[in-house]
């Protein structure tokens, strides 16, 4: 065969492959659309019924109708039902849970947790979490080490929704696992467990892994664990990891305990990492201790932007004493040093820097005030 003939054959083969591929894509889309349309047709009337129940209607006939829907119709409407189950509370949630339970959804979900399809496992975990099934805590804890990262995330969220403090340790353990769950997902789930998790979280401040200690410190603040203040204060003072000390500072600000003043002021020291000093400066504002005003004022001229910025914003949060300190710092930029030898010598760079941060905070406060006044 000549070279031109070979090229022609190759061209035909490529064209044929492209046509087959195109046909497969178009065919696949058509089938998917047809399935979706079929599901939507099936789900239509049932969806209206579902919305009525989710909206809080407790008409027994409607509930019964939803419970007795044929399986194929229920399967078509189930994704919406699962989504709504997680987004409503009160009587609407209770009624939806009742419908799910009577349809055997919890039993079915339990049986799906070991399916090969990760979407099926995630969906089952979601249903069990939304149904707040305490008897599903153990299998959901097992799913925290699932090979699929999305399944692990759904399992963590579901454990949070169920709210059983027994999940505290397994959730914390995922942070040091080979198959981890993102720290913010774990923190949110632990926060939903509330104060019953306080003991395990406080103990986790002694964990050898810093991500575990940092998350524990963070969540103790989010659940308002004032009883853990002393332990968090010692983490702020002595933990070897900066991320843990930063979380501890943030938590002490959230907890708002007066004893936190001394360790937070200590964390402002120039020899401390800037990220810690910035967080301590912010926490002092949340604490609202007027006695912190001089230390925060001194930070206005700090070389690190975040430290000076947070100090200025915290002064605003201290009320009139803080505002007065900002006004004074801003005023110093316009005052010539009293003992200046040079008649034209202005304020030094530190004074100007401090004044600039003070001006920025005061301007932001004024804008906020004006915006609030403008809102009718």
């Amino acid at each position: 065969m000549t070279l031109a003939g070979t090229a022609l054959v190759a061209l035909f083969v490529v064209l044929f492959a492209a046509l087959v591929l195109g046909a497969l894509i178009v065919g696949g889309r058509t089938v998917r659309r047809a399935r979706e349309a079929g599901r939507a047709r099936l789900a239509g009337p049932a969806r209206r019924l579902l919305l009525a129940i989710a909206a809080g209607d407790d008409d027994p006939r409607q509930i019964e109708e939803l419970v007795r829907l044929p399986d194929e119709v229920w399967l078509a409407v189930e994704p919406s039902a699962v989504a709504l189950l997680g987004k409503v509370r009160g009587e609407a949630h209770t009624t939806l849970v009742d419908v799910f339970e009577r349809r055997g959804a919890a039993w079915r979900a339990r049986s799906q947790l070991k399916r090969r399809d990760p979407v099926a496992r995630a969906m089952a975990a979601e249903v069990l979490g939304n149904l707040r099934r305490r008897d599903a805590v153990l299998p959901l804890c097992d799913l925290l080490s699932d090979p699929d990262p999305d399944v692990r995330v759904v399992a963590a969220r579901s454990l949070g929704r169920i709210g059983d403090a027994g999940a505290t340790q397994p959730l914390l353990a995922t942070l040091r696992s080979r198959r981890p769950v993102p720290a913010h997902v774990v923190a949110t789930a632990l926060t939903r467990l509330g104060t019953p998790a306080q003991g395990a979280l406080t103990a986790a401040l002694d964990d050898p892994r810093s991500p575990v200690r940092a998350t524990a410190a963070e969540v103790l603040g989010l659940i308002g664990a004032a009883g853990a203040t002393v332990r968090v204060e010692s983490a702020l003072r002595a933990d070897p990891a900066v991320e843990v000390r930063v979380s501890a500072a943030r938590t002490l600000g959230r907890l708002g305990t007066r004893t936190a003043l001394a360790p937070l002021l200590d964390a402002l020291g120039e020899d401390r990492p800037a990220v810690l000093r910035a967080e301590a400066a912010r926490a002092l504002g949340e604490l609202g201790a007027v006695t912190a005003a001089p230390a925060l004022t001194a930070l206005l001229a700090d070389a690190d932007y975040a430290v000076a910025h947070n100090a200025a914003r915290s002064l605003l949060r201290l009320g009139s004493a803080g505002r007065a300190a900002l006004v004074a710092a801003e005023h110093r930029a316009h005052v010539r040093p009293r003992h200046s030898a040079e008649p034209d010598e202005g304020p030094g760079p530190e004074v100007l820097l401090g004044a600039a941060h003070a001006r920025e905070a005061l301007a932001a406060a004024e804008l906020d005030d004006r915006r609030r006044q403008a809102v009718p």
Binding site: A83, G90, V375, P376
Partner: protein, 124 residues
Amino acid sequence: MTAILVADDDMDIRDLVAFKLEQAGYDVVAVDNGLAALTSATENPPDLVVLDVMMPGMSGIDVCRQLRQEQGTKALPIILLTARAQEGDVEVGFGAGADDYIVKPFSPRELVSRVEAVLARMRT
């Protein structure tokens, strides 16, 4: 009839809120993004707006700020609906000019009560 604009990119929530408000006797217009909400509210100002905070493109907070700057919509009662329950987010919402803030998961009955309360406050 009192008109309410509902904006949420989550179809299930949007349909649920619309369903509940229609059931309560309101005339509801539902859209699925922030820009459409802004356009609809500017062209046909409703009596109240329910905005989801997390929407693709333009967030509910951005829509709220824009509505507060327009002459024709700056007095519109606005309720924010969001899954974000942190105190800071609530502050941002109120800072943007929202009149009320409902956190998901929410009670549909409470939603109607809040709508009624905000509308009553605006009338007095």
